[in-house]
Chain length 198, copies 2
């Protein structure tokens, strides 16, 4: 049984990562940053999803002395040159304000019609051990953006994202349906099978 | 003496284009859309500066029967994947709200320090004749973004843009100093010497 700490205080992410990693039936125990109340969340100063995921996993492993798992993820919109990207959670300037971030994207794309509303949810998932070894993997799902939010599941930009081959937004899917195709599901299933190699 | 109509109702742009084109001492007379009160501004539905400049010049030449000159320009920020780009004037979702657009960019880059605050002002300048011929040219100036607005000249993102080799923002320069190095100055001087070839 190996113990890992999830390097986030985002309750939505903790729930989603727990679900995906526990679904992988690994001999691991998961802590969260709530188990280390004195440890601050890591500032995401990297310029890529991969850099930020590694930065968070490495910093939390060093500070806590416990192996750490982290992700950095976001929405990459083709016609916005790949943005909001690493700034997805603070796109409106208000960190973590999902409603404001989503509303801004819809406003920015108000004159943009299909087929130019293509986007991808992207996730980098990282793990780091206190002894210095680490790993980072990538997952993504492509799709299209709706003009009006639909659904109450998920979080972030889920209410406007329809994966390719689907008619529903990821906010209209059950948690299990979303995990099966999502960027975070793909990345963390890939990470899970490699956790014993780092 | 050839007559051209400037395909914009943006008073800042009209003033800047008049200044640059009249400085070129060409045998041309300049009208504006104010001389055609029934003609609507053209919706910028293109995906590039060049496409939008050509779209506006072509549409206004066709509608008015007078040769038309247009520009599309904006701020291309490296770490934002080239955005706000063609969405510069509506980045906050509020078209033409310079203060809101500039504030949003500063918020989005609040965690981004030098040397990652590089950007370019980009301009596509186009001219079109009613008979169907047209031309489009490109101008740009590279620089860095400040963390706090400085200066009261210019418009748009001028208060946060310091051209390479300068210490002042383009909002701290005189109109003539700005025109000499600006994206719009470069593009329209290039266009001016080719107006008799289309």
């Amino acid at each position: 049984m190996t113990t890992f700490v999830l390097a986030t205080r985002n309750a939505h992410k903790v729930r989603e990562l727990r679900r995906i990693l526990e679904g992988a039936n690994l001999p691991i125990e998961l802590l969260t940053l709530d188990d280390f109340p004195d440890v601050d969340e890591v500032k995401e100063t990297g310029l890529t999803f991969e850099a930020n995921a590694l930065l968070k996993a490495r910093t939390i492993a060093d500070v806590t002395g416990v192996s750490a798992i982290a992700d950095d993820s976001g929405l990459s919109i083709d016609v916005l040159g790949g943005m909001p990207g690493i700034l997805s959670a603070r796109w409106s300037g208000r960190h973590g304000d999902d409603a404001a971030n989503l509303a801004l994207v819809l406003d920015q794309l108000s004159d943009v019609d299909d087929p130019y509303r293509k986007a991808a949810f992207v996730c980098a998932a990282a793990a780091a051990r206190p002894d210095g070894s680490d790993i980072v993997v990538h997952g993504e799902v492509r799709g299209n953006l709706t003009k009006v939010p639909r659904g109450t599941g998920g979080f972030g930009y889920d209410p406007i994202f329809v994966p390719d081959g689907e008619t529903r937004t990821t906010a209209e899917m059950s948690a299990e349906e979303k995990d099966a195709i999502s960027h975070r599901g793909k990345a963390f299933r890939l990470l899970a099978v490699q956790l014993d190699r780092i």
